[in-house]
């Protein structure tokens, strides 16, 4: 049984430190600790076990977790976007592999990164390995046109899932965001009675800029979900918490390595266990 005296400031400081070091951000961490201090004052927490549980509950509440199973009776198009180098192309391969394993559904991969050196080659490599078709044009071609073609060809062949790669882009580069909006418009217009999802990929080692990324891209094209890659790194990926809480965008998957099987559905409990050590 403990009282407010027993829970020393030290205890709150340690918790605050842990949250900050997990990339929740100073603001979110301080707010959470403040909430806890109030709970302690109201004597609604009576022992250490309850304290930990309350922390978990708050964090759990901040997280929004979701799932996406493609509709077998419609054309599903998933656009993958995000800043440079976060893991988009690799995540596309993992997602395609996942849908094959879980639902026995094959995907068409659309090589929408027509800009970066060997981006198309990289996706073609994955397509080969996964035995899935890659729709591509040559380097430098218009990404909108590649995706347009991908939708046409998938539709005519009765294929059910298209996963579209896009070039990495900084959310503060207006011309690149404009291009993304254009691609988004093309897809929205073309897939009016299909299912269209936009998933942002973020890097688990990202700091507070992750919120800026999610915010900007959400504002630009609207996001249906987040995939956090490189969760196998030393980072606890805490940035996902303020993203979910402040922007109300669900997190779907975690990338846990460079192989196709290094891909898991986001699990709230496991994530919090690891976060809280």
């Amino acid at each position: 049984l403990f009282t407010t005296e027993k829970i020393s400031d030290h205890f709150f400081e340690d918790l605050e430190d842990m949250l900050i070091e997990s990339d929740l951000g100073a603001k979110t961490s301080l707010e959470l600790v403040e909430k806890l201090r109030k709970e302690i004052k109201r004597n609604t927490i009576v022992n250490e076990k309850e304290f930990i549980k309350t922390v978990r509950d708050y964090l759990s509440e901040y997280l929004i977790v979701d799932d996406f199973k493609p509709d077998e009776n419609k054309l599903n198009i998933i656009m993958i976007l995000g800043v440079n180098g976060v893991g988009k192309t690799t995540t596309i391969a993992k997602l395609a592999s996942y849908y094959k394993k879980e639902f026995n559904m094959t995907s068409v991969l659309s090589a929408g990164d027509t800009f970066r050196a060997a981006a198309i080659d990289q996706l073609i490599y994955h397509g080969d390995k996964l035995n899935m078709r890659v729709v591509h044009q040559q380097q430098g071609s218009d990404p909108g046109s590649v995706i347009f073609d991908s939708i046409d060809s998938a539709f005519s062949r009765g294929e059910k899932i298209i996963i579209a790669d896009t070039a990495g882009r900084m959310h503060n580069r207006d011309n690149l965001v404009k291009e993304l909006k254009k691609i988004n418009k093309i897809i929205s217009n073309k897939v009016s009675d299909g299912i269209y999802k936009k998933f942002l990929v973020i890097d688990a080692t990202t700091g507070q800029n992750g919120i800026r990324q999610a915010e900007s891209f959400n504002e630009a094209v609207g996001l249906d979900g987040i995939i956090m890659a490189k969760y196998d790194s030393a980072s606890k990926g805490g940035i996902i918490i303020p993203i979910c809480r402040d922007l109300k965008i669900p997190v779907l998957f975690l990338g846990t390595g460079e192989g196709y099987d290094d891909f898991i559905k986001f699990d709230r409990e496991n994530f919090l266990n690891y976060l809280l050590g």
């Binding site: 990339d23 893991g87 060997a118």
Partner: protein, 292 residues
Amino acid sequence: RISQKFTDIFRNISGKSTISEKNIREAVDEIKITLLEADVNLRVVRRFINRTIEEASGEKVLKAVDPGQQFVKIVYDRLVALLGDERKDLNLKGPDTHSVILLMGLQGSGKTTTSAKLALKLKKEGRRPILVAADLVRPAAVKQLQILGEQVGVEVYSEESKDAVRVVKNALAYSKKKSFNTIIIDTAGRLHLDDAMMKEIKKISDISKPVETLFIADAMTGQSAVTIAKEFHERIGISGVILSKFDSDARGGAAISLKSVTGQPLKFIGVGEKMEDLEPFYPERIASRILG
């Protein structure tokens, strides 16, 4: 913005009254939050704060007409001092001998792009660089470097092989034969947690004896920058850091964390995807960005 916050904190202090401990504490809390929100590592922030308090409690601020501004100046100057380093140029040997530059870092941090940028820069400065494609793990990595090499007009040494150490060995022999004086080695992205990959890069470093072992870090890296850099520095040895993707709107606090944990200079920043987008590192620029 932080200068406005400090002005507010010290607003009611005129030239003759003294600044209270409370004012200093408030100002220090503001710095702490600013630095944390800029992704400077918590422990690094603490050390920085402790030393800053001493200076802030001193004569200069206490007697200043505008203590808020004085406070900002102290913080800014200390950040610049922390980030600054005279050794920020590449430390290469003379042009008639071989200098190896080894690039390493986490997955996706910008190594391949940066190696080509460096090759272009060195070529423009009159050196004879060659790029070595030692990432044999990532799909199309060799092709990526070959394309970039072609773009900057620098030869790329590559082999059909899965053995990066062997490729580097052969590349060194080839470079000697063909009198390239600067050998830039691009390597696979790796986690410090991956023992096999850390052993690989250690081997590459041992056989190539680089004059520069550059750690390429993403400007948006958060708190774990310290853990990562520390491991790479202790196991392999970092001689310099390049912060990539600085054209994002990331505040770049990782720069402070990296400098403070490795003690090594920040040499360049990547400011875009084009081959010309490599700039020298200016501590003043980074400091004002971190302070927002």
